[in-house]
C-alpha cells in the first residue's frame, strides 16, 4: 500500500474511531443526543452523495427512502415488539421500492432531469398520502399510521433478539456512528471495484459505457437502490433518535436539506456532504431555537447562492485552492470540471 493510500484511509478511520469511542465519554447526554442526530443526517447525506455525486443520478427525493425506512421500522417494530427484523425491513423496503422505481425510470431511458422531477414527485405524493391517514381506519397490523399526527413512542432498538434489553442513548450514538463509518468506508470500497468505476464512467459518458458492453441501466438501478437502502438505514436510526416519526420526514424542506448538504459540501466528494450535513443540521437547530431568521428563507437563500456562485461546493473549492497554492503552484487543476460534472451535464 502506498503512503498516500494509508493516509487517505487511515486518517478518517482514526478520527472516526476516536469520535465513536471518545464522544460518549466527553459529552453530556443532551449534547450527545444532538450529535447523534447530526450523525444520522450525515449518513443520509452520504446516501445522496453516492447516488448523485458518483452515480450521476439526479435524485431530488432522497427523503422518500429516508421516510420509508423510518415508517417501515416504526410500523414493524410496533407489530413485532422486537427490533432486529424491523431494522432489516427498514433497509430492505426502501431498497426494493427504489429498485422498482429505478426499473421504470432507467429502463424507460427517461432523461436525467425527468428522474429529478419524478423522484421529487414521489416524495410529494408520499407526503400527501401519509399525511392524510390520520383516521383510525388506516392501520397496518396493530400500528396506526397516524397521518399528520405521526407515530409517537416508537419502540427503540434492542440488542438483537433480546427485546427486553433496549439500547440507551449513548448506545444509539455508537450504533449511528458505527453505521456512518461502515457506510463511508463501504462507499469508498465500492468506488474502487469495477462496479464503482463503471458507475463513475456512466456519469462521465453513458453511451460509451454501453458501447464498451456494460449495461448502464442495471448499474444505475443498483446504485439507486443501494443509495435508498442507506437512506432507509438512516431513517431507522432517525426514528430511534426521537422515538417519533411524522410525515414531515417526506416534506419538501427535508428533501431540499439533503440536496443542500451535498451541494454545499461538494458533489463528487464524500467528506463534503458529511461536513455539510453536520454543519447545516447544527445551523437548523440554532435557527430553530433563536428565531432570528426563518429557516426556509435561510436554506432557500443558501441553495440559490450556491447554485449561482459556488456550484461545486466548498470542499472541492477549498482542496483545489490549497492544492494549487501549496503543492503545485503552476499546475492548473482541471479536476474542477470532473467534480462539477454531474450537475453540469444536465
Amino acid at each position: 500500500m502506498s503512503v498516500g493510500r494509508v493516509v487517505s484511509y487511515g486518517v478518517p478511520a482514526v478520527i472516526g474511531l476516536a469520535l465513536l469511542i471518545g464522544l460518549p465519554q466527553l459529552l453530556d447526554l443532551f449534547v450527545l443526543l444532538q450529535v447523534t442526530l447530526y450523525v444520522v443526517m450525515a449518513i443520509l447525506a452520504l446516501s445522496l452523495a453516492f447516488v448523485w455525486g458518483y452515480g450521476g443520478i439526479l435524485c431530488l427525493g432522497q427523503s422518500a427512502f429516508f421516510g420509508l425506512g423510518a415508517y417501515a421500522y416504526a410500523i414493524t417494530a410496533f407489530n413485532i415488539g422486537e427490533s432486529s427484523l424491523p431494522v432489516v425491513i427498514a433497509i430492505l423496503l426502501p431498497t426494493l421500492f427504489a429498485a422498482a422505481l429505478g426499473y421504470l425510470m432507467f429502463y424507460g431511458r427517461i432523461s436525467e432531469v425527468y428522474v429529478g422531477v419524478i423522484t421529487l414527485t414521489v416524495t410529494l405524493i408520499l407526503f400527501n398520502a401519509v399525511n392524510s391517514t390520520a383516521s383510525p381506519e388506516y392501520r397496518i397490523g396493530s400500528a396506526l399510521i397516524g397521518g399528520y399526527n405521526g407515530l409517537p413512542n416508537v419502540p427503540s432498538l434492542n440488542f438483537p433478539f433480546d427485546p427486553d434489553n433496549t439500547l440507551q442513548p449513548d448506545d444509539v450514538y455508537m450504533v449511528a456512528m458505527a453505521t456512518l463509518l461502515i457506510v463511508y468506508f463501504g462507499i469508498r470500497w465500492i468506488l474502487r471495484t469495477r462496479f464503482g468505476r463503471v458507475l463513475v464512467a456512466i456519469r462521465e459518458n453513458e453511451r460509451r459505457v454501453e458501447f464498451i458492453g456494460f449495461d448502464a441501466r442495471l448499474h444505475k438501478l443498483a446504485a439507486f437502490a443501494l443509495g435508498a437502502g442507506i437512506a432507509g438505514a438512516a431513517g431507522c436510526l432517525f426514528v430511534n433518535w426521537g422515538s417519533y416519526v411524522s410525515p414531515t420526514i417526506f416534506s419538501m424542506i427535508q428533501s431540499a436539506q439533503i440536496i443542500i448538504w451535498v451541494m454545499v459540501g461538494g458533489v463528487g466528494t464524500l467528506i463534503g456532504p458529511i461536513l455539510g450535513a453536520v454543519a447545516l443540521s447544527w445551523l437548523t437547530a440554532e435557527v430553530g431555537t433563536q428565531h432570528v431568521i426563518n429557516a426556509d428563507i435561510l436554506f432557500g437563500g443558501i441553495l440559490i447562492v450556491f447554485v449561482l456562485l459556488v456550484p461545486r461546493g466548498l470542499v472541492p473549492m477549498l482542496t483545489e485552492h490549497v492544492w494549487s497554492r501549496v503543492m503545485q503552484p503552476r499546475r492548473k487543476v482541471a479536476v474542477a470540471a470532473k467534480l462539477a460534472a454531474p450537475g453540469g451535464r444536465a
Binding site: 425510470m105 432531469v113 422531477v117 398520502a129 426563518n294
Partner: protein, 288 residues
Amino acid sequence: MAFASIVGLEVVYAVAMLILVSLGLAIVFGMMRVINLAHGEFMVMGGYAATLAVHHGINFWLAIIVVPPIIVGAIGVVIERTIIRFLYGRMFETMLATWGLSLFLVGLMTVIFGDDTEGVPMSLPGLHIGLYQESGYNLFVIGFSVFLVGAVYAFLRYTRLGLLARATMQNAPMAGALGTNTSGVYAATFALGAALAGLAGGIIAPIAGVVPTTGGSYIGQAFITVLGGGASALAGVVSAAILFGVVDQAATFATNAVFGEVALLLAAIVLIRLLPNGITGRFFRRSL
C-alpha cells in the same frame, strides 16, 4: 342518470383543475426547458394577491382573475432577471435554484402573512341535478379552464409575441440572428408562466384557502401532468390532464382521495415508461 351526470361533471372538474394548475408550468417548461419548482409558491402568491384584493374591497371577480396574474407576472419578471437568466440551458441547476426560491418564498410568506389559512369568501348558487347539487364555482372553474386554453392557444398562434416566443424556444440562436430580442422574449414567457400560475392560485383561493406551505400540494399534480404531456405545452397539458383526471377520479371513487393521487403517480410513471417523451412526444407532435 343524475348520478352519472354528477360523476361526469366531477371528472371534467378534475381535468379542468389539472389544466389550471399545470398550464403555467407547462408553458415555461415546454417553451424554455425550465422546470420551475417554485410554481406552487407562484400559485400561493396569486392566492394571497386575491385575498388581499378582496379584503381591500376590490370586486370578487377582479380580485381572483385580474389582480393575481398581474402581480405574480411582475414578480416573475424580477425573478427571471435576477436568477433564472443566468441558468438557461442548464436544466438541473435551474431546478435547484427554483427549489431554493420555493423555500425562500415559503419562508417569506410565512413571515409576512403568518401560517394561518386565509379564506376568500364567495357565493355562487349551486346547480341542482336530480337529488344532487353541483357547486356553481366548480362550473365556473370548468368554463374558465376552457376559456384559458383557448386564450393561450390564440396568443401563441395568432399574436406576434406568440410567434416570437415559439421561434425563440425552438431555435434561440436563429431567432437572435433574425433580430429578435431573445432575452426579452424569455423574460416575457417566464412572466406569462408566472402570471398563469398566479391566476390559478387566485381561482383556487376561494375553494382551498391560502397558506404559505400549500404550494407543495399542487406541484406534484402539475409535474405529473406536464411530464406526461411532453414537449408541446398546450396539447400536452390538455391530453395529459384528461388522462390523469379520469384516472384520479376513477381511483378516488373506487377508494378515496389519498389513493386517487397515488394512482395518478402510478399512471404517470407507467406512462413515462411507455412514452418517455410524454404523450405529445408520440402523438400530436406538431401541435402547440
